[in-house]
Subunit: 209 residues, 2 copies
Amino acid sequence: MITLDILPKLEEIMEKQGLSPAIKDSVIKCSHFHSFPAPGLLIGVFMTDYALELLKATPDERLYGVSETHKCAPDALQAITHCTVGNNRLKVIPIGRFAITLNRKSWDPEIEGVRVFVDLDKLKKYPLIYAWFTNDPSFDHHGDSLPLLEEILTAGRTILSFEDVIVTTEAKKKWKSVICTQCGETIPDYLASGDLCMSCAGTHYYRKA
Amino acid sequence: MITLDILPKLEEIMEKQGLSPAIKDSVIKCSHFHSFPAPGLLIGVFMTDYALELLKATPDERLYGVSETHKCAPDALQAITHCTVGNNRLKVIPIGRFAITLNRKSWDPEIEGVRVFVDLDKLKKYPLIYAWFTNDPSFDHHGDSLPLLEEILTAGRTILSFEDVIVTTEAKKKWKSVICTQCGETIPDYLASGDLCMSCAGTHYYRKA
């Protein structure tokens, strides 16, 4: 299992590879946020860094991101660009491709953005990343993970490709507050199911103890 | 519009109210992550702090969280407890109630947890929070937001209630990597739509520029 204890070794590798201070800082920041330096998180750091450069944007701008996977990549986007789930500037769309899209704010229904993705062809040069990424049965999930992490830090953005895209924007929803007649808690009207909230109407992820 | 520039004033208020160092640190940390100290984010900080205490847990434990709203609250959970979207320890379930659930790791199909929510009855003592929370037309979204933020920092956890719950856990999905025959990118088999990924099969959030 990878833990934060491996960070000093990753810092040594990054130093040796001559990675930029921005990448080094992001790897450390994202690892603490995510609670460990997962392989997909490190790739996510390079993806986010690449997307920012392609968009000629800086992390302090008001950006909007999409992650096409819930695995790791959203955390790099969140911790670096401040496009978060809670501030509604990150959408996770369950397509399952290891890809992100980044764009600026727009009041128009569409805006130019950039999509960065892991390119399977480019990955073939890196046997460990390839085996891990494609979930190949040959990959040892219980062995030493440092060689894989080192390969990712060595590959950097060379395993990525990008495309310029036009992203559909979303207008802020107008809403009224309504009270669920069963639990008495408030919900926005657009999430109500008749007089009930979705939980009382049947979406149960818990029961009372 | 609320920005990070208001943080020094919030720090003064927290000092005056005698809030704990943990709360003060969390307010600052979460505000930077979220990119500004949103009212819902501050409530989220108190909710997360309360849930941790009720669970007798610390933020460095392996915890699992649910937010019943995508608004603000997930960011407090993410930044404080490291239950994140990307490490799969946070689920955002679009019920719309301003509530979170927190529990420990379990290999069983169910585990005890705690659910913390904003209690509308308790909110009546705080006219600004009440008007903002219920999206009342009387609330001025363009005015000075400091009085609202101050009321939230003053109210603290007194506007919250909790219940002990039993949460359903989710086993890790086994998956194989498959290649979409149209775009050539890899996806987990459980997200494929025949030979295609969901994007090529029709889930479009962008088009090529």
